[in-house]
Point group: C2
Chain length 666, copies 2
Amino acid sequence: MIDSEKHSLMAAAARVLAIDAVEAAGCGHPGLPMGAADVASVLFSHVLAFDPTAPRWPDRDRFVLSAGHGSALLYGLLHLVGYEDFPLDTLKTFRQLGSPAAGHPEFGHGAGIEATTGPLGQGVAMAVGMALAERMMNARFGNDLVDHRTYVLASDGDLMEGVAQEAIALAGHLRLSRLTLLWDDNGVSIDGPASLAVSGDMLARFESAGWSACRIDGHDPEAIFAALERARTSDRPSLIACRTTIGFGAPTKSGSAAAHGAPLGPKEALGARHAYGWASETPFDIPAEIRDLWRIAGLRSVHARKEWEKRYRALSAEERGEFDRRMRGQLPPGFDEALGGFRKRLAADRTAIATRKASEAVLEVINAFVPETVGGSADLTGSNNTLTRNMTAISPGHFGGRYVHWGVREHAMAAAMNGMVLHGGVIPYSGTFLAFSDYCKPALRLAALMRLRVVHVMTHDSIGLGEDGPTHQPVEQLAGLRAIPNMLVLRPADAVETAECWQIALENRTGPSVLALSRQALPALRTVHEPANLSARGAYELRPAAGEALVSLFATGSEVAVAVAAKELLDAEGIPARVVSVPSFELFERQSAERRREVVGDAPVKVGIEAAVRLGWDRLIGDDGLFVGMTGFGASAPAGVLYRHFGITAAAVADAARKRLDERVG
Amino acid sequence: MIDSEKHSLMAAAARVLAIDAVEAAGCGHPGLPMGAADVASVLFSHVLAFDPTAPRWPDRDRFVLSAGHGSALLYGLLHLVGYEDFPLDTLKTFRQLGSPAAGHPEFGHGAGIEATTGPLGQGVAMAVGMALAERMMNARFGNDLVDHRTYVLASDGDLMEGVAQEAIALAGHLRLSRLTLLWDDNGVSIDGPASLAVSGDMLARFESAGWSACRIDGHDPEAIFAALERARTSDRPSLIACRTTIGFGAPTKSGSAAAHGAPLGPKEALGARHAYGWASETPFDIPAEIRDLWRIAGLRSVHARKEWEKRYRALSAEERGEFDRRMRGQLPPGFDEALGGFRKRLAADRTAIATRKASEAVLEVINAFVPETVGGSADLTGSNNTLTRNMTAISPGHFGGRYVHWGVREHAMAAAMNGMVLHGGVIPYSGTFLAFSDYCKPALRLAALMRLRVVHVMTHDSIGLGEDGPTHQPVEQLAGLRAIPNMLVLRPADAVETAECWQIALENRTGPSVLALSRQALPALRTVHEPANLSARGAYELRPAAGEALVSLFATGSEVAVAVAAKELLDAEGIPARVVSVPSFELFERQSAERRREVVGDAPVKVGIEAAVRLGWDRLIGDDGLFVGMTGFGASAPAGVLYRHFGITAAAVADAARKRLDERVG
């Protein structure tokens, strides 16, 4: 099936482009591109379905370079098959400011880059998410519209990471048979031979997780192609362990860690050219006949894509519109109104309720109205309240449901959700405890960097979770999440704010959101319906002062009720106090300076109240502001006891404010 | 070997105590204790070597309850075998404020609790670290002093976590044959049957990683004992999959998720008592004959411990002193002076050097002087500069070295390091990129909570790493780490500060430290030797103003040089400016208010400079202070280009300061 002579030339072109890009940059990773070029070339020239003239064709196969340090390989291939975003000039700007050819593949920098990779293991888990989204979209729209595969190229390092191990277990469990993992099994890691740190049987490991697995010579194009074909017919996800030589062709550096992460240097680069039988010594010079081979290969699937377009156009306008809407990531028309109406009912209801329970109620409305939401939890469904009435779970080989039991795998959950959004057509939301946001931090960060709409429901968001103790009580997680650029951290104070925050999260199409929700019941504070989404301002005056405010109380989530009660105590003493609810620091930071000044106000005493560490609060209350919160880890005791023990009570707030006021005003 | 009748009574006692503790608390997790009581009872009564009368006996076996939610089982067993810290009254205060019997086992709350557990997977990785420390100490001190085993009881959820998967791979690779993992294979997780999320072959998974593995009936004491004995003779770590029934004995809840995380209620609790043939219906009432059985079992190893004491006393004073010193965690005498002398040399040297390289130079001194340090890196040894000249690496079955190639397993690395410190006798330090601190966050947090001295070398600490781009460039990690209570974040500005920070980290015996180090070379700023460790003050005036300061420049790490250059620009314009180096926010926060005021000063313009997000900086510079740093993610380009692109330059700082001064002073 494979013309091995042509293949050699084509693979050599990919190798030479990678070598030249790294040499031009004066830094980068030639080792993987040179080693994995045969595998990737067979994939791109014979197997992967894509159309560079319509790079966003929804039914294309997805390819994720999990070993993102091999980015030069990806850029070279995208160039060779004809992606417009990767002309030769772009390859020459590898790793330079503003170049689409960044050090690691960056999603959004150019069509053909399906995911940002580099932090190892993430690409494996994102590919699992893509393969899952494909099956879920297939279950909804059928084979005519959604019928593609996901390929991921992973390194030794990728497979060592826990997130990859979680994702492998998940893919095997769910029987994601359209997923193929190409392991660049070169036996070399940065510290030296991979045997310094690895000695297991990787094939057996994958098989134990329910995968098909085989090992091939990663430099034998026939073997590569045959393995890829076998993978297509497997009823399980497939591992293809491709034995390769890192830095293939480099006279002295091939097969060693020296080829991994630095330019080869002119001598080795030239030697490699000779080893490939490459005539030209001019950098980036690809002979026309090899260019043609690649260009033809790149257009292999144009026909398939056009056939797909026919089927797509044959759909009813309604079905096509729904598919488009979902792939574009637009919410159904009328979403605002539907949620607005529900907020009105919540304002009238006035029941004390945990915000995690309020979230469940909101999700009942959302999930009924927005068919593309996909819920899930890392084995805390009943605690996160993420499963709504008419949602059924997917199960191995069956993808008609809308809920995922991720298992106790927070990291793979968050990373796979990123992959689902990258695939398109679904809006995933998760569930876990806020303390365990730590477990999925790298994937949260990537969502923010890639500007993906994922929503993380993180409940039990303070010492208010009570007896489970400090291991389960977040105190620093809010600050840590607020520090991530482009991450929305939303901590609603009651049911109405919860609905507002859900609306913000779903309408935030350019980044992830975390909803920090209480375990414990909270009183209704927003009992008068406001047509405007007040939480969208980040902070707003919830209770004005009776007269000129002497004290401004700023609080988030469960502590807003504490602030309101403290205000009542102060009012009773004739000290006018106001309460500002701060559901989101980030949204408040985006307000105009004038609005910010107005909300912060100029009361002589400013108090921040949050059952968490102070870090970040000085922005709002000033470095001389009072802060009532946590200074260390929590403890195991009933929630009420803990709030008293740590002094986060209305009385403590009022006392501290009064004392400070006395000092100030005298 | 096991008297099954006695065993049933003893296990029933453990079960009843757990049931009663949970009922008394009104919350908690009865399911695991009831299910795993047979396994744990055989372990504690026949296999585990410990002496409740000398609970800190260094050569005791270690037991880690990774499934920390089953804490009531541990407390009950510790009580029954006679640990003084767990009298019956303590069991009655389960999950109440101040009780040693916290919701999850908390290290330090009582002897017998070897690790804080609860966040799943951590216990597995900590046990791997303990087993590793045992072998390394054995390699140093021999069988006479160090010859024990490590046992870990893990749940389905534990084994789903990536950190556990990493640790399993590591233990198999290193052939930690003295490690036994008891898997409470009850087939139930919180969401329901474990089959909702798991369908792999766990035994094959462990075998693929180089473990021995077997499956037994976890309610058959003979089978449990036989499997534990087999594990003792294996040349590999051992998995014992113990098929158990969650909530064993509960009439309607056993075998289901309903038994997991809530009190059984009086009816089920009584039914369970009947199922065990337990006569007394009085809570916490253990018949004297069962107490005696347990007390005798608890004293099984007293003789072995006394024999050990004999061997210990027979050592030379020097060897005994060294063993004691290391187990107590004291640094060798003269450490201060040795490092002080080296600091003096560094101050005189004045070479521009990356702080990661300076760290390597400091480590050469430290590792020569402190024999108990154990270095390592998550496959970035050459980049982290963590391997010093006379350090050799451990390898499978050989533990005479002092360096660990952890593989690309940041999470297991950090968690295993916690286990090493818990074991005692070693001071581990790690290496990875600062951006990847995200990967090990849960373990960093546990180190802080447990108050463990671990040192994390985290290099490439800003956009200064250059072309690898935003995935590898930390911007929010410093803030996230600073938010963790009891975590020391140290970001030295030059070689001298690096030495100071290393000294602080090693002398900080009650918590973890992160050293954030530059990839790029930094000029020497501290060129005059100071006998005092200035970094220990957290912040100090590095360059005074020429006259009354109009501008105060605060900076950390690589940006201190930017501040110094900006000061020179301002000075040249006749604007007196001073520079404050801030190697540690946390240490500065611990200074007296007076010292803080003095260091912050009262210049009308305060500028913070750090190539990271602003969060946390308002504490120092005020909410109206100027901040020169990052507002979003980085980019792929050479370091110098990035500093200019993001406006973190001396000129930009001077311009901004001048402009602000003009606004202020007019």
